[in-house]
Structures are given as structure tokens and as C-alpha cells.
């Protein structure tokens, strides 16, 4: 069951097309990665989910029915361009923003107390935001975003401004939220965290969706049939690959040899049986392409096509 669905969304600004017939579907209780280069249209799409802008055509659904104004209280949003009132005290400001999300002052206070204790930042309550470091302010901002326990949480580059320790805290928090039933839309350029966190993704480039699906399916779909083999060559006989197998690279690592072999039309068992008589195999695994590579490959493909079309 999907919590959110966008159908054939198109948005045109005066000079350019921001989204061109884009559809996405976000499963309930999943982490959905919204990927794309800068200026692809991700922020425009996110701003539609948060109802900051509206599409020119197409429909947005929340829990299977049309998205309505009151849904903003069930949605949490951490924008990429984010900040707080510098001259306002941390606690007072967090209370204000929570109340804008529909929490009562009393509820907001109880919840803030819980989070401030959890993150061990109770002493910041009376501080002005301008006295905090960037990372500290980001932490406050994160708390404010999730305080009203949104059903759908949208995080746009949530890790920017955090050191590795705090990045980890936030990562754990995101996973814990998912475990408790929150659905998360996650927009980032950091493909490492996409592989780590996301269940599904959609890749948007130049206003169009060019790829979507579950992360594992996409990665296996983009497999190149390359296997990585580490072995010990005690007899010194070396590898003798039968025809149809390509040796792509050889590396020495701590006495072991590590090779990458493209197996073409053959299967992995054929490769294994060719190797077993000659060397001692230490490890044998299929190379699954990184999201990063798929991202670059897809975007470049599309841009090249565009250029061809223009030429």
C-alpha cells in the first residue's frame, strides 16, 4: 500500500519546465530516495508534497485519496535551504514551530523535553540560535522536523552540516523512525547513504523521471556480469581462462591476487570449475554496481542522447 503517489505531474515556470510528466509512488513504511542532479526538479516535487507549490497538471495522492491542506500536519519537512530565527531562544522557537504543525503547547513541551534529553541538549533551551554552532542548530532543526511524529517525513540533504558522529546519530534516528512506522522521502547526492538507507528510489534528470524501482532490483538489473575473485597461486601456474571470459584487472593484495572477470554468456559455475584446478580460491563474489555508478551512467546517457537530438 502506498502512502503517497504522484501521477503525471507537470510544472512549468515562466522560462523552463520544472517537471515533465513525472509519476512516483512511495510505499508505506519505506525509505524512498529521490535522486537527481542539481536543478533536476527534485525540490519542485518536494515542494508540491509539502503544498508550498501546486502542479500545473497531474494529481497528488495521500493514503490513496487526494492530498489536502490539512495533510501538512501529517507531513514533516526538512528543507535543504533551512535555518532558524537567529535572535530567538532555542526552546521558544522549537515550541513555536511545533505549534505551527498543529501540536498543542503542552504536547509540544512534553515531546521537546523528551528529545532534548535524548540528544542531551537540555542546556541549549535558553540559548539564542545565533549562539549555537551550525551542527548544533541542525540538530535542533531535525528535532523540530520530527517532533509532531509525521506519517511522511521528507528529508532534503539531511546530513549536510553534520560531522560523522552526528551523521550516525541522525542515521540511526531515521532507521528507528522507519521501524516505528514512518515513511521517509529522502533526497540526497550522497549515494552511499542511498544504498545504506533506501528501499526504493526514483531518479530525476532534466525534469523527467528516468529510473525508478527498488534499490536491490535496480542494482541487479545493472549488473555487468563481472565477478571478483581472490585467490592464492601457490603452484605459480597462473590463471588460464577459457574463451569467452575476459580478465579485466589484476591486483596484488597481501599475497593474494584479486582479479575482475567478465563472464559474458557463461555462468559463474563455469568460471569456478575453470579456476578450481589451478588456484586456491579465497573469495568469489559478483560485482554489484554502486548506485553512484548507475546514477552517473544514467544521467550521462540521457544527456548524451539530448545532445545528439540537438545536433
Amino acid at each position: 500500500m502506498e502512502i503517497f503517489k504522484a501521477e503525471n505531474i507537470t510544472k512549468r515556470y515562466a522560462t523552463h519546465l520544472a517537471l515533465d510528466d513525472v509519476s512516483i509512488s512511495v510505499r508505506e513504511n519505506s525509505i524512498f530516495g529521490l535522486l537527481g542532479p542539481n536543478g533536476a526538479g527534485k525540490t519542485t516535487l518536494i515542494r508540491m508534497i509539502t503544498q508550498i507549490t501546486a502542479p500545473d497538471s497531474g494529481t497528488l495522492y495521500f493514503h490513496g485519496r487526494k492530498l489536502i491542506a490539512a495533510d501538512t500536519e501529517k507531513i514533516g519537512y526538512l528543507p535543504e535551504e533551512r535555518g532558524l530565527y537567529k535572535k530567538m531562544e532555542v526552546g521558544e522557537q522549537a515550541l513555536y514551530l511545533a505549534q505551527l504543525k498543529g501540536l498543542s503547547r503542552k504536547d509540544a513541551l512534553t515531546k521537546l523535553k523528551y528529545w532534548f534529553e535524548k540528544f542531551e541538549i537540555e542546556s541549549w533551551w535558553k540559548k539564542k540560535v545565533e549562539e549555537l554552532s551550525k551542527g548544533m542548530a541542525q540538530k535542533v532543526q531535525f528535532i523540530v522536523t520530527i517532533l509532531h511524529e509525521p506519517e511522511l517525513l521528507i528529508l532534503d540533504e539531511p546530513f549536510s552540516g553534520f560531522d560523522p558522529i552526528n551523521t550516525n546519530i541522525i542515521k540511526e534516528e531515521i532507521l528507528r523512525l522507519k521501524k516505528n512506522g514512518t515513511t521517509i522521502i529522502f533526497s540526497t547526492h550522497n549515494m552511499g547513504s542511498v544504498e545504506e538507507l533506501c528501499d526504493d528510489i526514483a531518479l530525476i534528470n532534466q525534469s523527467k523521471k528516468i529510473l525508478d524501482g527498488s534499490v536491490s532490483e535496480i542494482r541487479s538489473a545493472y549488473k555487468n556480469n563481472i565477478w571478483e575473485v581472490a585467490y592464492l597461486d601457490q603452484s605459480g601456474s597462473g590463471l588460464q581462462l577459457p574463451a569467452g571470459f575476459d580478465l579485466l584487472a589484476t591486483e596484488e593484495d597481501d599475497g593474494k591476487k584479486v582479479v575482475r572477470i567478465k563472464i559474458g554468456n557463461h555462468n559463474s559455475n563455469e568460471l569456478l570449475s575453470a579456476l578450481i584446478p589451478r588456484v586456491n580460491i579465497v573469495s568469489f563474489k559478483e560485482e554489484i554496481p554502486a548506485m553512484n555508478d548507475i546514477f552517473i551512467q544514467k544521467v550521462n546517457e540521457m544527456n548524451a542522447l539530448k545532445k545528439l537530438a540537438h545536433a
Binding site: R47, E73, Y77, E81, R82, G83, L84, L97, L100, V144
Partner: protein, 444 residues
């Protein structure tokens, strides 16, 4: 609706709690109080003891100047001006008045001082000489003073307005003062707090908090919340100023022991003549003055205060809302305050124009210029306030048109500003021009 109240509350409280608000609230009345108190204080300080040595070479005056409070004249004979000047070194005399022999023809005298005497003192001495010479000349010409005084004529014109069988007397001077005061206050309020709206919007934009907030509320709610919140700050400040100013002024008056009639007033010249008791014409001259005061009180009573105060509040709020929305739009269109210049011009021009027009409107409060400028929403808040004390013909048609247009006007500017605002607040690092703004208005 609940959320807009939250926004208003935040806008109001953060500003009212600011040090600058508290300082301005205290400093404002002190400055205003000083404006009233300092001249009075200065005037009381002027009366330090002044002894004037009079060297009268014309021999016309002969002890005829009467002393006043701390001002004493000492006539000397057998002392030339050089010797008299030397007397100043003794520190007893503060000034030497030199009256040359041919004063009756030259009309010139000289005062030599160590420390400059006050304006009033100089005036007093001059008047003393003038009066003395005038009566001399009069008696030489054989004209009796009483005859002259009786011949002097001063016409007081009463102004009355006739309308459908009812005659109503007017005091245009008072209307001018009241009108100008209302106009200035509105002008001041719009500029001061309109600029605060603009700065608030720029702050939210440059802090990057705006997108966080408009994911919870509509941009329009945020804009209106800010405008209304700041209006309430303005009203609070004005009320506090009025209260504190009145307190300070009355306290200072009490402290300095200043009473109405000891304020620096023109010296009644007849009384000073030869120290004679006041003459008959003088008494007559004072009579109309008292009547004047009476007249002023009567006209003050005649001013329709409920109408004036009601209209003031209406134009105060209406004018601010009209311009406040435009200030918000300017704030949304730029990234920092330095870039506001180009968009401020269309806002400041009608305001300054109203101010210039106010003088022409006062000259002809029922002319076409007064009518049109008090109808057009951009100028009506100031011009109508200037016009109102002169009276609006019953049944106040002009006023109703003007008020309705102002309401339509601020709804229009708010709608218009809202369009610019909701696009502008999410636009960073882009130099915006009028063409770009026009595009934003046309987005849907």
C-alpha cells in the same frame, strides 16, 4: 486561523521584548519631552542678573528705561564710551548700551557685552528705545498718544460656513494644526513600521527559515501574520509614547515650576513706557486676545472629535495595511536590505507626494485636488486626515468613497503583494527586476 494567531503572537512578542523596542519606547518620549521642556528651561535660565551701563550721548532718555526682573539700567553721565567699556573689566556690569548723539536720525545704537545677552533681553532693550523715541516723535508732531491708539485698527475676520440653512463658524488655523498632526502621524507610522515588515521578511528569507514555516502555513498567512503583528507593535509603541510623553511633560513642568503665563511671551510694550501704568488702549488691546482664546476653545469644542479619532484609527490602519503589504513584497523580492532601493521608489513617491500636497489641500480644502487626493487609496490616508478637520460636507459622501476605496485598495495591494511574496521568498541569489516581478504576479 489558529496558526495566524500564533504568527501574530510571535511577531508581536519578539519585537516588544527586544531591547531596541524598550529603548525606543523610553527614548522617544524623552526626546519629545525635551522638545517641550528644553526651550522652557532655556527661557528660565536667561533671566540671570544683567546690569547694563547706559552711555546716552543723545541725552534724550535720561533714566527713562524701566528695569525688568533681573535687567537693570544704570545711566551714567560724564563718561565717554571708551571709559564705559573699561568698566566691563570690573565684572559688575555685564553690558554697555551706547546711544549715539544722532540716534533720532540714524536709528542706530550699540550694545557691548562680555557674555552675549539673551534674545529676549536684546528685544526688550530695543523695544524700550523704540517706544521712547516714538513717543518723542509723536509729541513733536503734536499727536496725542490716545488719538493714535484709537486710530489703530485690527480687523478680526470670523469664518462661517453656510450649508442648508445652518451657519457654522470655522477656525481654519486650528484645522490646519489638527490636520497636519494627523497627517504626520500616519506618514511616520507607515514608514517606520512598513520598513519593519520589510526587514522581517528579509530576515526570514536570509535565515532560510521561511521554507520550514511555509510547509506548515500558507505564505499568505505568514505575510498577514507579520503585517498584523507589527501593526500591533506600532500601536503599542504609540500608546506608550503618548502616555509617557504626557507624564514626562507634566512632571517636568511641575519640577521646573513653569506656569502658563511665565512662558516667554512678547513684552507688552506700553507697560514699559516710562514705567507709567498701563494705558487705556492697552486694556482694549488685551480684550480681543482673550476673545481669541475663547474662540479657539469654542472651535476646539466644535471639532467633531469622535469622527476625527474614528477616521484617524481607520486611516492609520488602512494606510498601514495598504503599504505594509507592499513593503512585504519588496522584502520578498530581494536577498538583502541593500537591494531594496530600486523597489522602494514606487512606495515612497506617493507617500512623499501626499506630504507635499497636504499644503495645497490646506489652502483649498474643498477644491478638486483635495477631493481627488483624499479619494485615491495611496494618498488618502494622509490627505483625508489633513482635510477632515476643515469639515466634510454632509452626508460625508467623500469620506465614504475614500474609505471604501482604501479598503478595496488594501485588499488589492495585499493580493498583489501576496503573489510576489510567495514566489519571492523561495528565490535566492537572483537579481530581480520589475519584469521578473510581473512574471511572478502572473503565476497561478
Amino acid at each position: 486561523m489558529h496558526k495566524i494567531v500564533l504568527i501574530i503572537k510571535r511577531e508581536y512578542l519578539t519585537r516588544v521584548k527586544q531591547k531596541s523596542f524598550i529603548i525606543m519606547t523610553i527614548l522617544g518620549p524623552l526626546l519629545m519631552g525635551a522638545l517641550f521642556v528644553v526651550p522652557i528651561w532655556m527661557a528660565t535660565q536667561e533671566d540671570e542678573k544683567t546690569d547694563v551701563l547706559v552711555v546716552d550721548e543723545s541725552l534724550l532718555f535720561n533714566n527713562s528705561f524701566s528695569d525688568k526682573d533681573n535687567l537693570k539700567f544704570h545711566f551714567v553721565k560724564d563718561m565717554n564710551i571708551k571709559e564705559a567699556e573699561k568698566q566691563l573689566d570690573e565684572d559688575y556690569y555685564s553690558a554697555v548700551l551706547y546711544i549715539p548723539q544722532n540716534i533720532i536720525n540714524s536709528n542706530g545704537a550699540e550694545i557691548i557685552y562680555k557674555k552675549q545677552p539673551g534674545f529676549n533681553t536684546i528685544m526688550f532693550i530695543e523695544t524700550s528705545i523704540e517706544n521712547e523715541l516714538e513717543s518723542l516723535k509723536l509729541s513733536e508732531a503734536g499727536i496725542d498718544k490716545k488719538t493714535l491708539a484709537a486710530a489703530k485698527t485690527d480687523i478680526k475676520m470670523r469664518k462661517s460656513k453656510y450649508e442648508s440653512g445652518v451657519k457654522e463658524s470655522k477656525n481654519t488655523e486650528l484645522s490646519m494644526v489638527v490636520g497636519m498632526l494627523g497627517g504626520v502621524l500616519i506618514y511616520f507610522f507607515i514608514f517606520l513600521y512598513g520598513a519593519q515588515v520589510m526587514r522581517g521578511v528579509i530576515e526570514e528569507k536570509s535565515n532560510r527559515i521561511v521554507e520550514v514555516i511555509i510547509s506548515s502555513v500558507k505564505p499568505f498567512q505568514l505575510m498577514m501574520g507579520k503585517i498584523i503583528g507589527i501593526a500591533m507593535v506600532g500601536l503599542t509603541q504609540f500608546l506608550l509614547w503618548i502616555f509617557l510623553t504626557t507624564t514626562i511633560v507634566s512632571a517636568a513642568k511641575g519640577f521646573l515650576g513653569v506656569e502658563k503665563n511665565s512662558l516667554p511671551a512678547p513684552v507688552p510694550m506700553e507697560q514699559t513706557m516710562n514705567g507709567q501704568p498701563a494705558l487705556q488702549p492697552n486694556m482694549q488691546a488685551q480684550q480681543p486676545a482673550a476673545e481669541d482664546m475663547d474662540e479657539i476653545w469654542k472651535s476646539i469644542d466644535k471639532i467633531n472629535f469622535p469622527l476625527l479619532i474614528g477616521a484617524f484609527i481607520f486611516y492609520f490602519i488602512g494606510g498601514y495595511l495598504l503599504y505594509g503589504a507592499l513593503f512585504a513584497a519588496v522584502g520578498a523580492a530581494v536577498d538583502n536590505e541593500a537591494d531594496t532601493q530600486q523597489f522602494m521608489l514606487p512606495i515612497t513617491i506617493p507617500l512623499i507626494l501626499s506630504f507635499v500636497m497636504a499644503q495645497f489641500v490646506m489652502n483649498n480644502p474643498e477644491g478638486p485636488m483635495a477631493f481627488w487626493f483624499s479619494i485615491i487609496p495611496f494618498t488618502s490616508p494622509i490627505i483625508m486626515m489633513v482635510r477632515l478637520p476643515f469639515g466634510i460636507p454632509y452626508p460625508y459622501t467623500d469620506l465614504w468613497i475614500s474609505m471604501s476605496l482604501l479598503i478595496i485598495g488594501f485588499i488589492a495591494t495585499t493580493w498583489f503583494a501576496g503573489k510576489i511574496y510567495r514566489t519571492g521568498i523561495l528565490m535566492y541569489g537572483k537579481k530581480v527586476n520589475y519584469k521578473e516581478l510581473w512574471k511572478w504576479i502572473r503565476y497561478h
